[in-house]
């Protein structure tokens, strides 16, 4: 890592073949080494046409199959995206959706039905997708206390949770902070062809989070008890490490459009079967014009449905092949000898006035 440190070993290795060994008699002179003389053997590649063109061809040849494979994998993924935020608001409230969602009296239950386009092999992942929701906002993303989540001892460690840190009578909120406070609280119930489907919440949160980030002895306390109710309430008899929805939610998203895992359906969904979803539409995205979508998706080796990588790879592969061919053509049409000393202006102008 340190050039000096590296040198000593290199110097010692080269010392044996030292042609100037005789000079070492002089005590004043430091030991001759290839490092000190800046003579370490070096490979000096240059950009020859052959090298450059073949590397572009190579990239093209490698990229297009990878791109195709990714695209293929992405295409194999069956994905149902269903936006329900608007449709789940009764017609009478369409003009004032905010009032509908904030009211305690309104019936938030909403039933949506759609067809499964292709067979979906289990497990089918259920996501909810929020648009225009800034989980990465600085004020939001910082408003949490990892220490408090981890252990009961630091229950009062809420300094970073402002403004949802303590209740009016100064007792700590567990879990504190805006992230936990705004926990997503829509719920979904699925039935296919009128048979109820079980939604498994098993393993939807990262195991590492459950084991190390959220304490098994930390129980919700004073949560959503203030005047302002944010999102979901938590069962205060279940320790945080078992509150998988919270754990998933607490993994903040880097983008304003994101999906979070809601659960898994452990059976295959046949093509053209009718899927009915009963949605408890509680979560307020109406105030800021955010969208809510329900996403059911299978998975592949590359993850969910995402054409980006495949398309990018194919485009890039095509471009590099194109570049390679154009370089090749230019090279054939207008060959240019490399390292022709006549290019050196001082050779053309022997007087030595070099500009």
């Amino acid at each position: 890592m340190d050039p000096n440190g590296g040198s000593s070993s290199a110097g010692a290795a080269d010392g044996a073949s030292d042609p100037a060994a005789a000079r070492r008699r002089h005590s004043k002179k430091p030991k001759y080494s290839r490092f000190t003389q800046q003579e370490l053997p070096a490979c000096k590649p240059i950009l020859t046409p052959g090298w450059v063109i073949s590397s572009f061809i190579f990239v093209g040849i490698i990229f297009i199959p990878i791109g195709l494979a990714s695209l293929f994998a992405s295409e194999r993924v069956v994905e149902i995206v269903h936006r329900y935020d608007k449709d789940c608001v009764p017609a009478s409230y369409r003009n004032d959706m905010l009032a509908y969602i904030q009211s305690n009296e309104t019936n938030k239950t909403c039933t949506r039905t759609f067809l499964v386009p292709k067979q979906m092999k289990s497990p089918v992942y259920i996501y909810y997708q929020l648009d225009n929701f800034y989980q990465n906002h600085r004020r939001y993303v910082k408003s949490r206390s990892d220490k408090q989540l981890r252990s009961r001892a630091s229950e009062n460690d809420t300094s970073s949770c402002d403004p949802e840190d303590v209740t009016a009578n100064k007792s700590a909120i567990v879990p504190c902070g805006l992230i936990a406070w705004s926990l997503f609280n829509d719920t979904y119930g699925f039935s296919v062809n009128n048979t109820l489907l079980g939604v498994s919440k098993k393993n939807i949160a990262w195991k590492s989070d459950q084991q190390h980030k959220f304490g098994s002895d930390v129980y919700p306390k004073n949560f959503q008890s203030g005047g302002l109710i944010g999102g979901a309430k938590l069962n205060s008899s279940i320790p945080l490490s078992q509150q998988v929805d919270l754990i998933v939610w607490m993994r903040t998203a880097a983008l304003p459009t994101f999906r979070k895992l809601y659960g898994k359906i452990e059976v295959d969904l046949e093509a053209n079967s009718e899927l009915t979803v009963v949605i408890e539409n509680n979560y307020n995205t109406y105030s800021f014009g955010g969208k809510k979508k329900l996403v059911l998706s299978t998975t592949s080796w590359i993850g969910g449905k995402n054409d980006f990588l495949g398309i990018a790879y194919i485009t890039l592969g095509g471009l590099s092949l194109f570049l390679a061919i154009s370089f090749l053509l230019i090279y054939i049409i207008k060959p240019r000898p490399l390292g022709d000393p006549t290019f050196l202006s001082w050779n053309r102008n022997p007087a030595g006035h070099f500009n």
């Binding site: 590296g6 997708q129 004020r139 949802e164 880097a254 590359i302 000393p341 001082w346 030595g352």
Partner: protein
């Protein structure tokens, strides 16, 4: 202001003056921290970083943990503070060693052994042979019966010969035992740094008989850090102690020099700073607008309705902190590190060892190696720099007869040998003057061989030559000289020595022939200091001719003269001389005046010609460096013709039709003015021609030109690629450097003697030749080399590589900082312009300090072209000189590259990791690893030669990145827990990395290839030629040209003396004759030549008058 030193008076002077404690320390234990911190914070960059670090302590605005700035900041401060502390500690140790050395001092009349630091002013100090002198002493006694002792002053002025020091006449003959009890007062000036001057008086108190005022000179002192040699013991009175000694006063820390590269980096830093402020303001406003329009709707952010008063500032300040990494904190450390390595490479270079004396090159100033590659002007001294400063007596002219013209060696000239053996009186006198008119000390070794210790190489040459002519100077005993001439011993008593000064330009001795009691004045000196004082009636024409002829051969001439003095004339003069010798004020001037009274009506005996051979490889070095586009100026104290000849023989100027010399002369303001205008006119016309035009100016005209025509002269300096300045003083040398520097040229001054020190210190780069004139220049210089020819390697290899490497390293540092900063900026657009950092604190800190610094540090091993190619094509240096590799436009390229790469990394990361994968930590690590991958490939593509170390650093660093992050991912408490393991098991992560690398590097490679092949720079062409193994032919291949003055100039010498003009025509054409020829057809230029012809003829007339 004077200082009165009372000898052996323990009470009086003890508290008046400082003790002899030497302290070179900058700090003490207590003030180290505040003083060092103060020094470090006086730099703008550090103030900036401190401000950023302080802002980060405010949790409301800090995007990351304050540690990400404090960590590197403290680290950087600690590194430089440690370095300072270590240096200071070493200084302390060496001081301590000197301070605690035991010396013998008389206290209360008894000799005591005390530590050197306890010596007080007025103490009598005893020294033995080979001991170091602890403070400045005035001698009062030595073991030598004649009162002489020898000292080596190498530590003081670098001169290695032994110098004689004598005790003052008043102390002569005082008994050894009585020295303890001696009382008296020394009246001396307050401490100064002049090591050649000590104008003081000594008065001894009774019972010591001599109650007269006795003058003291530097000859009566031994100065601190000298060594006593060849003398059993001496004792002296301490006059200056501790840091007030001559050595202590001249110590000082020189001003740090700033390289052009540093200045450019500072400028770019400033530009980036402005850019950063703009970004902060724009994003700050955008952030506040977004907050007021959007964020209020987002209930989950829970913005309070009413914010505190500083509410508006919070977001801009957050962005300021987020963008603060734009200016890389590591750049200073990296640069300091690589710069010290450049310096080490110079120290280590085996090809720059002077094999004769086995002295290595040494970089005293480790910070300015890049400037070596950007040198535009080299100002060089002649004697000892271009020449070997090894004087050999070659020819002489005695009484109108030339000796040595045929064979080129007067010592082998049969006629001269015959003349000596036949006892021709002129010749005998001439040889006698050669042998004894000097300050040489003969030292007889045990085998009987005599060697000479001379302060001047010329004197050494003359004495050696005299010895060859059977006039052997065998012994010098106080005032008696012994000469062995043809086996008979002749004794002379030296009555007075009228020493050489650069103003008088001559030295004389007054001697008494012990056989017949006759008194003679023997003089030798420069022709203009001797010939005008010839006695009336003596024909001096032949001597003038001889001087001219010799100087055209590039030989150094000295005129020898003598006069017999009458006893009473001498006695009268002697009194005046003694009086002048004891004046305290203007002693040098008074002495010169008195000497003048004796040195007249001289009978000129002849002229000696001494050859100072060119050093090996000087012509080739100059030719190579001129091809590299470096302009040469020669500044010498020698006379014009000698300078021109040397210049010719070392390729400095080209002979006629190719070159043209323009003379600037004149004794008055008007003459010089006209001369300047004429030369300037010619210069302007000829600049378009492929012709080497040089101007020649002498010290006198230069003085006038600098005083009255500074502007014109400056213009001339810009136009002229070559100049010869003769007869210039040290301060004029420095002024010339100043003029070139004021025109923004990078200057390098090279010299070897004390007279070059000012020039060396003034220039951007000072190079000292550790040669025979001592180490004075080498000590003052930034670089010291053994031989002039190493300059080629120093500039073309070390300077060029240093520049290239620093150019890459500095721009790369900005590139990588901008890269990560741009990503942060882009991320802020998708995070509600709220100033969220995409990267976590640990990554940000490690990114600058570890991940990206190490690969670039090994770029100190990069070589774009092999040393051999550079030497063959020195023109390639132009890229460095013109700053082609580091300037705003190359920087714009790097800026664009970082913007492009930031877009690539950001867009690919957020698209590949969208939807369910858009977990903050994961996206952050994907983007970060994308940056790391890209920077590894950027270093790879910008590296020209890969050694093992480079591969190790680049790929090892990449591996280290993963290892460090895996370790972090294994710690449950870290925010990164399991993230890296998750990512590395996903195929999509690796696919994304691959995509980022190819998208980022593809266009870079394509553009680079296209330019490399179809728009190659000269460097590229040479790289291709070199690597493809083809013939790297340059039409102007430089073959070694073994030259010596003898070979080239000998033919001239026979023809020349006959038809000589006042101006040496073939070279010095006063009017631009040849220029006119080429412009003959064009009438537009007619005006200029006719005018210049007029003025030239006019000036010639003036000269004839």
């Amino acid at each position: 202001m004077k200082r009165y030193v009372y000898i052996n008076d323990d009470e009086l002077s003890q508290d008046l003056y400082c003790d002899n404690r030497i302290s070179n320390r900058k700090y003490t234990l207590l003030n180290f921290l505040p003083k060092n911190l103060w020094e470090q914070f006086s730099r703008f960059m550090n103030q900036y970083f401190l401000l950023i670090a302080c802002l980060q302590l405010w949790p409301l605005i800090t995007p990351v943990n304050p540690a990400s700035t404090w960590g590197p900041l403290i680290f950087i401060f600690a590194v430089s503070a440690t370095k300072e502390a270590w240096d200071d500690y070493n200084r302390y140790l060496s001081d301590k060693k000197a301070n605690e050395k035991e010396v013998w001092v008389v206290r209360q009349g008894i000799k005591k052994h005390i530590q050197a630091q306890d010596i007080c002013v007025g103490n009598v100090v005893w020294l033995r042979e080979n001991e170091e002198v602890p403070c400045d002493l005035v001698l009062i006694g030595t073991s030598d019966p004649q009162g002489v002792c020898y000292v080596e002053t190498a530590a003081l002025d670098g001169e290695t010969d032994l110098k004689t020091r004598v005790i003052p006449s008043a102390c002569m003959g005082i008994d050894f035992e009585l020295l303890h009890k001696m009382k008296g007062v020394i009246e001396c000036p307050i401490p100064d740094r002049d090591i050649r001057r000590f104008d003081a008086n000594l008065r001894l108190f009774p019972p010591f008989i001599d109650n007269d005022l006795c003058p003291l000179t530097i000859k009566n002192t031994i100065l601190q850090s000298c060594y006593l040699r060849n003398t059993e013991w001496v004792c002296g009175v301490a006059v200056y102690t501790g840091n007030e000694t001559k050595l202590g006063m001249s110590r000082g820390i020189p001003e740090p020099k700033l390289t052009a590269v540093d200045a450019m980096i500072d400028k770019l830093t400033g530009a980036i700073f402005v850019f950063q402020i703009v970004v902060v303001i724009v994003l700050g406003i955008a952030g506040n607008v977004w907050k007021d329009t959007e964020a209020v709707k987002q209930w989950y952010v829970l913005y309070p309705k009413e914010g505190p008063w500083y509410e508006l500032l919070v977001i801009p300040l957050r962005f300021e902190l987020l963008c603060s990494i734009m200016i890389p904190i590591s750049i200073k450390v990296s640069l300091d590190l690589v710069k010290s390595l450049y310096a080490k490479f110079i120290d280590w270079d085996n090809q720059m060892i002077d094999q004769e004396t086995s002295t290595r090159s040494h970089a005293t100033n480790t910070a300015i190696s890049e400037d070596l590659g950007q040198v535009e002007y080299i100002l060089t001294d002649k004697t000892g720099t271009l020449t070997e400063n090894r004087m050999i007596f070659r020819r002489c002219c005695i009484g109108g007869i030339f000796y040595g013209n045929e064979s080129g060696d007067a010592l082998k000239d049969v006629e001269l040998l015959n003349a000596v053996s036949s006892g021709s009186s002129d010749v005998i006198r001439f040889v006698t003057v050669m042998a004894i008119c000097n300050t040489v000390i003969p030292v007889k070794s045990k085998t009987g061989a005599i060697s000479y210790k001379a302060q001047s190489q010329d004197e050494d040459a003359l004495v050696q030559a005299a010895a060859c002519l059977h006039m052997v100077f065998v012994n010098k005993n106080a005032n008696t000289l012994e000469i062995n001439f043809n086996a008979s011993i002749i004794q002379y008593e030296v009555l007075d020595t009228l020493e050489f000064t650069s103003d008088r330009k001559r030295m004389s001795v007054v001697v008494k022939d012990c056989q017949n009691g006759k008194i003679f004045l023997l003089s030798k000196g420069a022709d203009e200091a001797i010939i005008p004082y010839a006695c009336a009636g003596q024909q001096t024409r032949t001597f003038t001719e001889a001087v001219d002829q010799y100087s055209q051969l590039g030989l150094r001439t000295l005129c020898l003269a003598w006069r017999e003095l009458k006893e009473d004339e001498y006695q009268d003069w002697s009194l005046m001389f003694k009086e002048a010798n004891s004046t305290l004020v203007d002693r040098e001037w008074r002495l010169a005046e008195v000497c003048q009274r004796l040195e007249h009506d001289l009978e000129i005996l002849g002229v000696t010609a001494i050859e100072d051979r060119l050093q090996d490889g000087v012509p080739e070095t100059i030719e190579t460096l001129r091809k590299a586009g470096i302009n040469f100026w020669m500044l010498t104290g020698d006379k014009q013709n000698t300078a021109i000849q040397i210049a010719l023989s070392c390729n400095f100027i080209s002979p006629e039709p190719k070159g043209q010399l323009l003379l600037i002369n004149g004794k008055t303001e008007d003459e010089v003015g006209r001369s300047l205008d004429r030369v300037l006119l010619t210069m302007r016309i000829t600049t378009s021609e492929p012709k080497d035009v040089a101007f020649v100016i002498d010290g006198w005209a230069l003085e006038i030109a600098l005083k009255h025509y500074r502007k014109v002269f400056t213009e001339l300096a810009i136009l002229s690629r070559t100049a010869l300045c003769c007869r210039v003083t040290p301060s004029q040398k420095a002024q010339l450097v100043e003029i070139l520097k004021s025109c923004d040229y990078r200057t390098l001054a090279i010299g070897d003697g004390g007279n070059d020190v000012r020039m060396i210190q003034q220039a951007d780069i000072g190079v000292g030749i550790s040669g025979r004139e001592g180490l004075q220049a080498a000590r003052a210089a930034d670089y010291s080399i053994g031989k002039f020819r190493f300059l080629k390697r120093l500039i073309l290899v070390h300077g060029r590589y240093s520049y290239n490497r620093t150019a890459f390293l500095s721009q790369y540092s900005f590139y990588k900082s901008l890269l990560i900063c741009f990503i942060q900026i882009f991320f802020s657009f998708i995070s509600g312009v709220s100033g969220t950092s995409l990267f976590n604190s640990v990554s940000l800190m490690a990114y600058n300090v570890f991940y990206t610094s190490i690969p670039v540090l090994v770029s100190v091993l990069d070589k774009d072209l092999s040393e051999k190619t550079v030497m063959q094509h020195p023109q390639i240096l132009f890229y460095c000189q013109a700053g082609r590799l580091l300037n705003p436009s190359t920087f714009a390229g790097w800026f664009g590259r970082s913007l492009f790469h930031a877009i690539v990394v950001f867009v690919i990361s957020i698209h590949a990791y969208a939807y369910e994968k858009s977990e903050m930590e994961e996206v952050s690590m994907v983007a970060l690893s994308g940056c790391i991958w890209l920077q590894a490939f950027v270093v790879t593509i910008e590296t020209n030669s890969f050694t093992v170390l480079q591969h190790l650093a680049i790929w090892g660093n990449l591996a280290a990145f993963y290892i460090i992050n895996w370790i972090l991912s294994a710690v449950p408490a870290s925010g990164l827990y399991t993230i890296m393991f998750r990512l590395c098991t996903q195929p999509s992560y690796w696919i994304t990395m691959f995509l980022i690398v190819v998208t980022g590097m593809g266009p870079v490679l394509a553009i680079k290839y296209f330019r490399y092949t179809y728009r190659p720079s000269k460097i590229n062409t040479l790289q291709q030629a070199e690597r493809l193994g083809g013939p790297i032919l340059s039409l102007g291949n430089i073959e070694p040209q073994p030259r010596s003055i003898e070979k080239d100039v000998s033919p001239l010498s026979i023809t020349l003396p006959k038809n000589r003009n006042p101006v040496y025509e073939p070279l010095l054409s006063d009017s631009p004759n040849s220029t006119r020829k080429s412009f003959g057809s064009s009438t537009t230029f007619d005006f200029f030549p006719s005018q210049s012809r007029l003025s030239s003829s006019y000036s010639r007339n003036c000269k004839d008058n």
